[in-house]
Symmetry: C2
Subunit: 351 residues, 2 copies
C-alpha cells in the first residue's frame, strides 16, 4: 500500500480510466481501447476490463474527453421565451426531439438564453470559442434572418430549422414544406365537399406566412374553387382577438365561406370563436383547419397541419454530425394533416 503510484478509488471522486486500469491490471490506454476500439484488444483482456468497468461503474469524464479530442459533443441551442399572445409553438416538442436524436450519437443539448438575435449571435460565438458546444441549431428563422450569415462568417457549424428567403443555398437547413401544408388542408376540405374555402393568414412579408398563403392559392386554383373575387383571402396579426374580428368580416359576406384554412392554430382558435359567436357550429356549419397541431388544437378538437418535428430533429442532428458533406445539405420534409371534428364532417348543403 505504501507503493507509490498506487491509487485506490477513494471516496469522493468518480473512478477514472486509471482506476479501472489498475484494478484490471492493465494500462490506461488498454481500457480506453476497450471502449473505443475493442477489436484491438485481445478478447480475454477485453472481457476482464469490461468486467471492471461495470463493477466500478466507470463513466468517462466528458470534460476530459472534450479537452483531449477538442470536441465537446454538445449541441448548442438558444431557448426563446415564448411569444406572449401566440399559442405555444413547438419549442418544447422540438427540444425534446433534439435531445432524443442527439442521445443516439452521444451528444447532449446545451441550452442558453439570449435576449434577441444579435445577443444570440454573440452567445454562439462565445460558446463556440469557449469550446462549450461544437455545433448549433438555429430555429424560427425569419425571411431576412441575420444569424446564418453571421455564423457562417464566424466559422461556426450549424444547421437551421427553417430557412431565409435569400441565401438559403449557402448553409444547411431542414424545413417543413409549408406550401404543401395548406394545400393538404384545402384538398381535405374539397374532399369533404367544400367549394368556398377561405384563408386566414398573417400579413404578407413573413416567409412562413407567405408560403402557407401560397399553398392555399395553389390548391384553390388547381381545384378551380371560388376565389376570383379575392375576398376569401384575409389576414390578421397572430392573435385570437385579431382573428375573431377578421373572421367576422369573412362571415358577413353575402357568400360566406363554408371552410377556413388558417396559417396558425392561434388564428384557427379565433376563427372558431368567431363562428360560435356568429351562431355557427364549428364542424357542422363551418369547417376550420389550423396549422402546427399545438396541444390547444387537440384540446379543442381542431383539425390541424402537423409538422414532423421528430423527423426534423433527427435530420438536423444527422446533418450536424454528418461528416464533411460537399456543400450544404437541404431537406424539405412533408407535414401531415390531423383530422379532428372541426373539419371531419362533409360540407353541409349551402346555407
Amino acid at each position: 500500500m505504501a507503493e507509490p503510484g498506487h491509487h485506490e478509488p477513494v471516496g469522493g471522486g468518480a473512478p477514472t480510466l486509471q482506476d479501472v486500469a489498475q484494478a484490471a491490471g492493465v494500462s490506461r490506454q488498454t481500457v480506453s481501447n476497450v471502449l473505443h476500439a475493442p477489436e484491438r484488444v485481445r478478447p480475454a483482456t477485453r472481457e476482464r476490463v469490461v468486467e471492471f468497468i461495470s463493477r466500478l461503474g466507470y463513466q468517462p469524464n466528458r470534460q476530459a474527453q472534450a479537452l483531449a479530442r477538442s470536441a465537446s459533443h454538445m449541441i448548442g441551442c438558444r431557448i426563446r421565451p415564448l411569444t406572449p399572445g401566440a399559442l405555444t409553438s413547438m419549442h418544447d416538442r422540438f427540444l425534446h426531439a433534439l435531445a432524443e436524436a442527439g442521445r443516439a450519437a452521444d451528444h447532449h443539448l446545451l441550452l442558453f438564453a439570449a435576449e434577441d438575435e444579435s445577443a444570440e449571435i454573440d452567445s454562439v460565438g462565445r460558446l463556440h470559442r469557449g469550446g462549450a458546444a461544437d455545433a448549433f441549431v438555429l430555429y424560427d428563422l425569419t425571411a431576412d434572418d441575420q444569424r446564418p450569415k453571421a455564423l457562417l462568417d464566424m466559422g461556426v457549424p450549424f444547421v437551421a430549422f427553417g430557412r431565409t428567403d435569400t441565401g438559403a443555398d449557402t448553409y444547411p437547413w431542414v424545413d417543413v414544406d409549408n406550401v404543401l401544408g395548406t394545400r393538404l388542408a384545402v384538398d381535405h376540405l374539397v374532399n369533404r365537399g367544400h367549394r368556398r374555402v377561405a384563408f386566414l393568414g398573417w400579413p404578407s412579408g413573413r416567409t412562413i406566412g407567405d408560403r402557407r398563403a401560397r399553398g392555399w392559392h395553389q390548391a384553390v386554383e388547381s381545384h378551380r374553387l371560388a376565389s376570383t373575387c379575392g375576398v376569401l383571402d384575409v389576414r390578421s396579426e397572430d392573435s385570437v382577438q385579431a382573428a375573431i374580428q377578421v373572421t367576422f368580416r369573412l362571415l358577413e359576406h353575402s357568400e360566406p365561406p363554408t371552410a377556413i384554412v388558417t396559417a396558425t392554430d392561434t388564428l384557427a382558435v379565433g376563427a372558431m370563436q368567431a363562428a360560435q359567436r356568429w351562431g355557427l357550429e364549428v364542424g357542422r356549419d363551418l369547417a376550420v383547419v389550423g396549422f402546427d397541431d399545438t396541444p390547444t388544437a387537440a384540446a379543442l378538437e381542431l383539425s390541424s397541419i402537423r409538422q414532423p418535428i421528430e423527423l426534423v430533429a433527427r435530420q438536423v442532428v444527422a446533418a450536424l454530425l454528418g461528416t464533411d458533406e460537399v456543400g450544404p445539405g437541404c431537406w424539405l420534409l412533408e407535414p401531415q394533416l390531423v383530422i379532428r371534428s372541426s373539419s371531419a364532417r362533409p360540407a353541409s348543403p349551402r346555407r
Copy 2:
C-alpha cells in the same frame, strides 16, 4: 520565429490563456488572475491584459476549466415529452427561466431525454459521474416520486421543483403554494358575488391535485359558501372530453354553480366548452377560472392561476449554487390570479 516555445495564435484554434499571456508579455497565471481575481493584479498590468483579451477575443475554454476545477458549471435537466391530451404545461417557460437564471451565475443548462423515471435516474447518475453536470433539477414530482431518494443516495446535488408527499424534508425543493392558488380563485369569485362555486379537479391521489382541491375546500368553508351537499366537488381525468362530461353533470343539477374553479386549464377548457353547449355564455352566465395560465388560457380569455415560474427558476438556481446550506432549503412561493373575461364580470342574479 524559430525561437522555440513561441506560439502565435495561428489560424484554427481559438486563442488560449497562453496566447494572451504571450501577447501581453505576462505569464499564464496573471491573465487568469485578471479574470478571476483582478484585485491581485496591478492596475497597469491589468489594463494591458484586458486590452489583449478583448483584442484577441479570448474566451476561456469551459472544458479545460471544468477539468481543472472539477466542476462543469452545468445544470442537468431532463426534458420530458409533452403529455398527449393535456395542454402544454410550463416546461418551456421553466426551461427558459432556468437558462436565464443560470446565465447570471455563468451556468448553462444540459438537457437530456429519458424514457421514464428510472431511466432518468440512470442518466443522472451517468452524467454526474461523467462530470457532465454538477447538479440537477427535478420537476413534475409525483406524490411518491422515487427520484429524490435515488439522487440523495447517489450523492448527486439537486433541487426539485415540487415535492413529494413524504420525506420532503430530506431534500431541497421549491414549490408553488397550490392550496393558496385555488383559494385565490375562490376569493376572487366571491368578491364578484358568486356563492355557488364548484371545483373541477383530478381524481384524488395526486399531490398537486389534492392540494388544489384543499384550497377550494378551505376557501369554501371560510366564506361559508353553499357546499354542504358536496355535489359541487367533482373530479375527472385531465382531458377536455372528460371535463365536458363532468361539467354537464354539474350543470344539470337543480341548483347549478355560477362559477367553476378548476385544477388545470385543460379542465377549464372542458368546462367552458360544456357551458357553451349548454347554452351558457362563459363570463356572463358562468364564471370559470383555470390553473397554470397556459397560452391557451390567454387565447381563450380564461382567467387562470399563474405560477411564478421565473421566480421558481431563480430560486432553484440559487438553491443549487447556494453554498453549503445547513440542511435542505425549502421555498414555497405564491401564485397569482390573472383575471380575464371568463370571470371578470360580477355574478349575474340567480338564474
